[in-house]
């Protein structure tokens, strides 16, 4: 097997989810893992992908690739799969990775599986387990084509951090004008925050917080834990918080190790976005809130009383 990993950067740093994808490739593979990075990047940082299991990093320095250009990325990946002789492409799920994978699968006639939650079973054919029905079930799916593409859900394998430095090679990729036919006119992005899809801990607030002015304690609790902040759908619908913080069926589906829900009753649509969390803590003043049934730990109490106490207790335990 020859595995290529598509690696993404965010704010000039390699994304942790991409390091996870390299770790996955390294764990599934007995051959060398090649990582592909597109756009301006720091060479020393690229070599650190070796730590996660990459033998070689292929880097295109074309600055047109600094922003996530879906069609150009797809064309670039297909070229590198060809030149490296890769039969398997691995990447982390993301707003760029997903649309790029779809296009590459057509370009390379590869079978594709998204929401992959664990290593493949290659005892007969190539079988992966993927999350379906928004985390409520799994499918064991055989990828039948001779090439395959896997898009990983967060936490599919533990992060590997014990490899050696990778060699870094630059590569020239060829593009058509049509690969840049979509113009990105601007981006609005929260900076310096832990991003929700990448976070190991998420603190979410719901209507129980009564208004956007009360989010200070949610942010403080999140900062104390190194967590990202999320919210329920009503909160995002009322514009108390931006849509990219909305966790749920029609928002972001998260898979942190710890999800803390404050003042969220736990409508089934919200649960659909959090059911891949390893542990769930629910804080709600209504003892009958349905969320308690999906929780590992629960506290019945008013958010305005419990959250400040929790912040103190975490500080005290440090």
């Amino acid at each position: 097997m020859s595995v290529l990993v598509f690696v993404e950067q965010s704010e000039g740093k390699i994304k942790k989810s991409s390091r996870e994808a390299v770790s996955y490739a390294s764990a599934m593979n007995d051959g060398d893992v090649v990582a592909l990075v597109m756009g301006t990047a720091d060479g020393d940082q690229l070599a650190t992908l070796g730590n996660n299991g990459a033998a070689k990093v292929v880097h295109s320095t074309d600055s047109r690739l600094d922003k996530g250009v879906i069609r150009a990325y797809s064309a670039g990946i297909a070229q590198v799969m060809e030149s490296e002789g890769s039969d398997t492409l691995v990447m982390a799920e993301s707003s760029i990775g997903n649309p790029v994978a779809a296009r590459v699968s057509i370009k390379t006639s590869a079978s594709l599986a998204s929401n992959v939650v664990g290593l493949p079973d290659t005892s007969s054919g190539f079988k992966v387990k993927r999350s379906i029905y928004t985390g409520k079930a799994f499918a064991n799916t055989i990828l039948e084509a001779s090439k395959r593409i896997l898009i990983l859900k967060k936490g599919a394998v533990p992060l590997k951090e014990d490899g050696a430095a990778a060699s870094v090679e630059s590569i020239d990729l060829a593009f058509d004008d049509s690969d840049f036919g979509v113009t990105i006119t601007s981006q609005e992005k929260a900076t310096g925050q832990v991003l929700l899809p990448e976070a190991d801990i998420v603190v979410s607030g719901g209507r129980g917080l009564k208004g956007p002015e009360n989010w200070g304690m949610i942010e403080e609790l999140a900062a104390e834990l190194g967590a990202a902040t999320g919210c329920s759908k009503p909160v995002s619908d009322m514009d108390w918080r931006p849509h990219h913080e909305h966790v749920g069926q029609t928002g972001i589906k998260v898979a942190p190790t710890l999800y803390i829900a404050v003042g969220i009753s736990g409508a089934i649509q919200h649960l659909a976005g959090v059911n891949s969390s390893k542990f769930i803590v629910v804080i709600n003043k209504d003892a009958d809130a349905p969320f308690f049934k999906a929780a590992d730990y629960g506290i019945v109490g008013d958010a305005f009383d419990v959250v400040p106490k929790l912040i103190q207790a975490i500080k005290a335990a440090k």
Partner: protein, 245 residues
């Protein structure tokens, strides 16, 4: 403007998910099937664009005869006609090839669908159709305006959004808040009965994945309740029992 809206026929969000026949099939007992919630956003935006600028809306589903009530609902909401490709939806690639063949025939300016289906959650079909047709495909799109053959859109990215401009034709995978869901009214439901719904046979492409079996996640243990006057105990459990702090 000619708009194609691709509709999935999926279990309602509140459905209990279970499998029958030794975990080989989805158990449809007592399950209500609906238009996928993301597809509902796509359809609603199509109806708004038609109201603004005129044109036609074709609703498309790849599925067997049981999906026709879902297509009729799309007609009641505002599609002008519907096409059903008469085959089970085998996998993302297979569905994408079917949509692409219909799209080639119809020469649409805009192809809208949900960002993902809520059964398999693949989120791949729009991108695959875009690559097969050689046109741009963007997802998840939360805002879409059409002006003089050009689309202006907002796409959600991690921690924010990006604004984009692109010439038509275009494929968009939609999500909130692109439009408000539309509920069919009595007049729409009556009219839907006589709107054309054509059935076409699938083009000869094969799926390239095969699901061997399904499984449910392990049952969660009982919730441990902690007194609100003893919050320190929660921190202790998270540290020592769950080992997540």
């Amino acid at each position: 403007m000619k708009i194609l809206v691709c509709i999935t026929h999926v279990p309602d969000t509140t459905s209990k998910i279970a499998f029958s026949n030794n975990n080989l099939e989805f158990d449809k007992t007592g399950v209500q099937f609906v238009i996928g919630p993301y597809d509902d956003y796509a359809l609603a935006r199509a109806v708004e664009l038609k109201e603004q600028q005129g044109g036609t809306i074709t609703a498309l589903n790849v599925g067997e005869v049981e999906t026709e009530p879902t297509l009729r609902k799309a007609l009641a909401i505002g599609a002008d006609d519907a096409i059903r490709v008469n085959t089970p939806a085998l996998d993302s690639f297979f569905v994408a090839t079917q949509i692409a063949s219909v799209a080639k025939e119809g020469n649409y300016d805009l192809i809208l669908m949900g960002r993902e289906s809520i059964d398999f959650n693949g989120g791949m079909v729009h991108g695959m159709v875009g690559e097969i047709l050689g046109i741009p495909s963007l997802s998840p799109v939360m805002k879409l305006e059409i002006e003089g053959g050009k689309a202006k859109l907002a796409r959600e990215i991690e921690g924010g959004k990006e604004y984009l401009e692109v010439d038509l034709p275009l494929i968009a995978g939609c999500q909130e808040p692109i439009a408000e869901w539309k509920i069919p009214n009595m007049r729409g439901i009556m009219m839907a009965r006589s709107k054309p719904l054509s059935v076409v046979e699938p083009s000869e492409n094969n799926a390239n994945t095969k699901t061997e079996s399904y499984e449910l996640p392990p049952k969660k243990g009982e919730v441990k309740m902690i007194d609100s006057d003893n919050v320190g105990e929660l921190v202790r459990l998270l540290k020592e029992e769950a080992k997540v702090l």
